[in-house]
């Protein structure tokens, strides 16, 4: 039985959608690869006490120049950037929407954007995305009000990203989970294997940008990495709540309220382990009126362990429901309801690449300067705004792959900052430029002309100091 791709296939539903080149070819009736139907493929079998999957050919879904795995902040930034430089880009996303943790994870706070003197140090594609949100009603609030960070709306951002992907001409595959790297005889990456409703398929590429967050592709390709465990939470949005109470005596980051350094009326020395009653306000305001987003730190968990992930997915939703019930007991909050819990768990860090350059915590605290700087992170806690070197995106050994987003090469304390949304935009954009330049100059990512990368980033409005 032959598979026939006709109208109604991926991205071919109507005139609004640009049809991707690969599918366009298929729809155009040209040679279609012989893909056996799932039922006819030999299934895994039990051999003794082991389950064995038979060796089989993986059908090639598509061939591309730059393959971006992961459609979160880093992945979308990388894909848009590379595509604008005129190379063929394919973007693959595990969920049914784009934006990753910024939308599906409800990480709506866009920080850290500013340095210690409240100067914005992250521009480029991130600034462009925020500008697009500026003109969308209820898209973004607290723009250009340092040190208060902007907050975006998840649905507005999904809308902006979806429109941009369709307009850009990027070949995108959603609901498609990158599961393996394709490696040639020399150990260089040639693409990635995906699992989707269409089964297991391969996409061949010259350069792969791993924006999976967990570094799934570089790990599969054999790149060395450090596995870390940290807190995993689940963000939610609560509706029908008044704007966060910023009255004096309460915490806020409003710079117009000088620190008085002592408690307000009726507040005194807090007792140890005082029970939190949310003081009548929980979470922080979002662009949507009377809707707050409620962050959760969560316990330490292994983001690569399905048992941990399952447990947290279940318990976090119970815990969030309980906290909303607690919140409702406060006078004035009786009508508060849980709008949604995030579709995606708030995984902060899992794998950290061992790159050409591992960004060290001492370096960022001492304001280290890198000759291969590709962008800045804003100031966060006791770390000032710091430079991110290109070397932290390049694996130490494996060829043809770049990392961007939270899984780049950095020490844990640094990665705890570079994992944040705007910094992912920065590393994503840099990886996109570098990958496109590799295609144009026919070179490996580690040999790319960094000065040219910096020049291009500069032209694209990125801030490099």
């Amino acid at each position: 039985m032959r598979r026939s791709v006709a109208a109604g296939g991926l991205f071919a539903a109507g005139s609004l959608m640009p049809v991707s080149p690969a599918l366009g070819n298929q729809a155009g009736g040209q040679s279609t690869p012989e893909i056996p139907e799932r039922e006819t493929r030999p299934p895994a079998s039990v051999v003794g006490e082991k389950v064995v999957q038979p060796r089989r050919e993986v059908p090639v879904l598509h061939k591309t120049s730059v393959l971006v795995v992961g459609g979160g902040p880093a992945g979308t930034a990388a894909a848009f950037t590379a595509k604008r430089m005129g190379v063929d880009v394919t973007l693959v996303e595990r969920y049914g929407y784009l934006g990753g943790l910024a939308t599906g994870g409800l990480v709506l706070g866009i920080f850290p954007l500013y340095d210690r003197s409240n100067k914005q140090v992250i521009y480029g594609i991130g600034e462009e995305l925020m500008k697009k949100l500026d003109v969308v009603k209820y898209g973004i609030i607290d723009r250009n009000k340092p040190p208060v960070y902007p907050t975006i709306d998840a649905e507005a951002f999904k809308y902006v990203l979806a429109s941009m992907v369709l307009d850009s001409g990027i070949t995108a595959y959603l609901d498609c989970w990158g599961v393996d790297a394709i490696v040639d005889g020399k150990g260089a990456v040639r693409g990635a294997v995906f699992e989707s409703k269409s089964g297991r398929q391969a996409i061949l590429a010259d350069i792969v940008i791993d924006c999976s967050g967990d570094g799934d592709i570089y790990a599969a390709a054999g790149a060395a990495y450090e596995k870390v465990k940290t807190n995993i939470g689940l963000i939610s949005r609560i509706g029908n709540i008044d704007e966060v109470d910023m009255a004096p005596g309460r915490g806020s980051e409003d710079p117009n309220k000088p620190s008085i350094g002592r408690p307000g009326e009726g507040e005194g020395r807090p007792s140890k382990g005082r029970v939190n009653d949310f003081g009548g306000h929980a979470g922080n305001s979002t662009p949507a009126p009377h809707v707050n987003w409620l962050n959760m730190r969560g316990p330490v968990g292994d983001a690569l362990d399905i048992a941990d992930l399952t447990e947290l997915e279940l318990k976090h939703r119970i815990g969030t429901w309980g906290n909303v019930e607690k919140l409702r007991q406060k006078a004035g909050n009786e009508q508060v309801y849980l709008t949604e819990t995030a579709p995606q768990l708030g995984v902060r860090l899992s794998r950290l690449l061992d790159g050409v350059k591992k960004l060290k915590v001492d370096e960022i605290r001492n304001g280290a300067k890198f000759s291969d700087v590709i962008g800045y992170s804003g100031a966060y806690a006791n770390a000032p705004a710091f430079q991110i070197p290109y070397g932290s995106l390049v694996p130490a050994k494996v060829e043809n792959v770049l990392a961007a987003g939270r899984c780049i090469s950095a020490e844990f304390e640094v990665a705890d900052i570079t994992r944040l949304i705007p910094v992912c935009w920065v590393t994503g954009q840099a990886a996109g430029v570098a990958a496109a330049l590799c295609i144009q100059d026919k070179c490996k990512p580690r040999h790319v002309n960094v000065a040219k990368v910096q020049d291009l980033l500069h032209q694209q409005g990125a801030y490099l100091g």
Binding site: G251, E253, R269, R274, M296, G298, A383
Partner: protein, 428 residues
């Protein structure tokens, strides 16, 4: 003495004045220099040694001054004292030229006695009247972070200069406890000297004369003669001493002296217990001056009450400034030992206060922001954002490694109230 008499007195005074400025101002790489400046004063060295029941290194310097000034009257005032030099020159351009203060009682002696008696009770009551402390205090101006601090560090010397300009040299001659102490030392030396050497036979002779005239027995006459003239001074001295001891006990025990016991009263590292600190502290502001992060400031009395007026307190209100884990300077400059000298490792174990988080303000506990600023900032690994499974929230938990350095408080982003703040350590 012969050498001194040849050089003009003004020149020596000027040299000492410049020397004092060099010692107090941190031009020298020697952190502890200001401490040795004040310890030259025998008033400071004696009182603090008695109050602390221990003799400091600087007491040796004071001993030299004690010996010399007991042979040459007011030698210290005339040659060494930079405050004296300043006031002497102020009086030259001042309004009052007459020597009206000659009528004043020797207040300085009573202040000295009162303070020494207080020191015996562990609280040298008026030690802050020492002229060297008053001189060095305004040097902390460059570390003053508020108008109130500027006022407080300049208060002592400002009052002295102003008063001398208007009223003349009354302070130096009659009120200064250091000059009073010197006068007493001189008188004591004279009394001892005359009794032990040449005066013994003549006194015997005089007594014999008296016996002859009055017809009374010899021992009786001797007691009358010795009591008659200094009786008024001795009585006042006795009352001053008793008053000093009582004041000391009152200040140590009574809540009235510390009318407001703030929950956020934090003393610089090495501070002796609060019941003695305000007395032992001479308000020289050396510690204010020494602090590189400007977190030490003189108290208005708001934190520790009347007794603590002008004594140093720590305030972490300024952004990004805390008690650095790389610094123990303030503990090295205290001339009286109100701040015990601590090595860096010891200072990093001295508990200034305890950090406590308020979960109803904390951005993390309220789910407002992804914030772990306090945990990241803590140099002692004492703050951990901890997940509370029962409440299903996370908040900062402070363990017993906390010394209250304030690193968490200064980075806490909440305004106007910090979600994590350092509080006075409550006894368990």
């Amino acid at each position: 003495m012969t050498l001194l008499s040849r050089v003009p007195r003004r020149l020596i005074q000027l040299a000492c004045f410049v020397g004092a400025v060099v010692l107090v101002w941190p031009w020298l790489p020697w952190t502890a220099a200001p401490r040795f400046f004040q310890q030259v004063s025998p008033f400071v060295a004696l009182s603090s040694s008695i109050a602390k029941r221990s003799i400091g290194v600087g007491a040796v310097l004071a001993l030299v001054v004690i010996v010399v000034s007991s042979f040459k009257k007011r030698w210290f005032c005339l040659y060494l004292c930079p405050t004296g030099f300043l006031l002497e020159n102020t009086s030259r351009i001042g309004l009052r030229k007459t020597r009206w203060w000659g009528k004043l009682p020797p207040v300085g002696r009573y202040v000295a006695i009162l303070t020494l008696a207080g020191a015996v009770a562990g609280y040298p009551v008026l030690l802050w009247m020492d002229p060297l402390c008053i001189f060095s205090s305004p040097f902390a101006l460059n570390k003053a972070t508020s108008a109130m601090s500027v006022f407080l560090v300049c208060l002592g010397l400002g009052v002295l200069v102003g008063a001398t300009f208007v009223f003349g040299m009354a302070w130096c001659v009659r009120i200064c406890p250091l000059s009073g102490l010197q006068d007493m030392l001189f008188a004591m030396r004279k009394a001892l000297w005359s009794r032990s050497t040449a005066s013994a036979p003549s006194r015997k002779f005089a007594d014999a004369k008296l016996v002859k005239i009055s017809g009374a027995s010899a021992p009786e006459v001797r007691s009358i003669a010795s009591m008659r003239k200094p009786s008024g001074i001795a009585r006042r001295a006795f009352f001053a001493g008793a008053g000093g001891a009582l004041l000391a006990l009152w200040a140590r025990r009574s809540g009235a002296a510390r009318y407001r016991k703030s929950d956020t009263l934090l003393r610089p590292p090495g501070a002796v217990p609060e019941d003695r600190f305000a007395g032992l502290c001479i308000r020289c502001n050396n510690c204010v001056h020494a602090c590189p992060t400007k977190i030490i400031r003189p108290d208005t009395g708001h934190e520790a009450g009347l007794a603590g007026f002008g004594a140093p307190v720590i305030s972490y209100a300024r952004d990004y400034k805390y008690c650095l884990e790389t610094c123990n300077d303030c503990t090295q400059v205290c001339p009286t030992g109100a701040l015990t000298p601590l090595a860096l490792e010891e200072k990093n174990k001295y508990i200034i206060g305890e950090a406590l988080a308020d979960n109803n303000v904390c951005l993390t506990a309220l789910g407002q922001k992804e914030c772990d600023a306090c945990e990241v900032a803590c140099p002692y690994d004492a703050v951990k954002i901890t997940w509370d499974e029962a409440q299903y929230i996370a908040y900062p938990v402070v363990n017993d490694k906390c010394i209250g350095c304030g690193a968490c408080e200064v980075v806490c982003p909440t305004n106007p109230v910090k979600a994590i703040r350092v509080w006075t350590l409550k006894p368990a």
